[in-house]
């Protein structure tokens, strides 16, 4: 059965994933909008940077975050200067690492959705004298709703499944950075297989249900199409 410690890791994981998903939607929406509309020479470069966490091993990302966010890293010196201390081994640090790690899963579906909308609805809105913000919220957001749903669900579930990055910057602190994937790994390493099975089972059922809802009820295209 699940122990109280296991339940704590589940709760913490959902907390990290919820906050990270909110942040990713806030930051990812303008970024995806810009990427979908721009003809700038920088577009290819920014697209490549956003997609980088898809191909980099998470441990590589995690190790460089540990170095960069540490006291002698650029980010660490900045957060120290702000009086916030350094980010590794903290809840905030974990959220920031998750945002960087899962960002492509939010930006790419949004970018695809925005591109699909095309010029026509925007021009129509403009002839009706809608301002840019009004157009965005009354035209773009409703039309791109499936994109937003896909982005939110993929961003959330991908953060729940995050492991390598947390292992590197987390420090395995209960209620702060000990998330469910790390807990499963530790159960396996400690040869506590039955605890590991239980927790892994919960995670499996959860992830499968969410994806099932995404692909059947919402009739979304499989991820591979979106990530092209």
């Amino acid at each position: 059965m699940l122990t109280p410690a296991d339940l704590d890791t589940l709760l913490l994981t959902f907390k990290v994933a919820s906050i990270a998903t909110l942040l990713m939607l806030l930051l990812g929406t303008p970024l995806a909008w810009w990427l979908a509309r721009t003809h700038s020479a920088w577009k290819g470069m920014i697209n490549a940077i956003v997609a980088l966490p898809l191909v980099l091993p998470p441990t590589v990302l995690g190790f460089y975050l540990l170095v960069l966010m540490g006291p002698s890293g650029a980010i660490g010196e900045f957060t120290n200067w702000l009086g916030l201390g350094t980010l590794p081994f903290t809840f905030a640090g974990l959220v920031i690492a998750s945002v960087l790690y899962s960002m492509p899963f939010v930006v790419q579906p949004l970018q695809a959705a925005f591109t699909t909308i095309g010029e026509q609805p925007l021009e129509a809105a403009a002839t009706l004298r809608a301002g840019p913000l009004d157009t965005f919220f009354s035209v773009v957001v409703p039309l791109a709703k499936p994109g937003f749903l896909t982005a939110a669900i993929l961003g959330f579930t991908h953060t729940v499944g995050e492991f390598g990055v947390v292992l590197m910057v987390g420090g395995n602190i209960p209620d702060k950075t000990r998330v469910v994937s790390v807990q499963i790994y530790n159960h396996v390493e400690a040869l506590e297989y039955s605890e590991a099975h239980w927790l892994a089972g919960v995670l499996l059922v959860f992830s499968f249900s969410v994806l099932l809802v995404l692909y059947t009820v919402l009739k979304t295209q499989p991820v591979a199409h979106q990530l092209k």
Partner: protein, 255 residues
Amino acid sequence: MLQTTLSRVFITLALLLVGQTSWAASVLVAVAANFSKPMTEIAAEFEKATGHSAKLSFGSSGKFVSQIENGGPFEVLLSADEKSPQKLEQSGLTVPDSQFTYALGKLVLWSAKPGYVDNQGKILTTGGFKHLALADPKLAPYGLAAMEVLKKMGLMEKLQPLFVQGENIAQTYQFISTANAELGFVALSQVIENGKIATGSGWIIPGDYYAPIRQGAVLMKKGAENPAAPALLDYLKSAPALAIIEKYGYDLPQK
């Protein structure tokens, strides 16, 4: 033309492969993270001395046990403890009576900052740090030893909130060497060079603060038919290997 070129390539490749296996055997060794530096040196000497080669895989002992129990290909295990080889023995995966202690691990309280850790570990009592790194005591014997030290010093309750735990001792070292944790408990072998702590500052913890970390080696049944596997275990007991083990700060097992 293309065909002859291709066939030449294949013949060369085939000769290379056959050549490799015919005169030297290769053994796949699972090595506990704390022993990675000395083992790399020992493996090089082993190759020179016997002509066999050793392929080393570094990680935590617990992970190796899981992998071996599920068909992992390792032929020799150099564990960080004695529990892991015993567990494999119970599962009937080892060659009976092949287990022996190859080194006694030593624990050090270490910081990347020079002059930060005094040679009596008083810093633990005075405090002033935000993070104390150690290996997960559930998984790593060096983590367990660190807990014993803190209990013995009566500092457990005070310092537990500052713990950051590495999954194995190599990751614990990483937390400290990147200065994300001001100090922490690592294996002496990780920070020693020519008999001295090479960088930063450290306190080599006296042996009466924790139970000896007896590191066990064992031959797996998978390696029983491979001449290189028992040869490597024999070599571990030889004078040149023992000298390397001692150089990295380990105590030698009593004969």
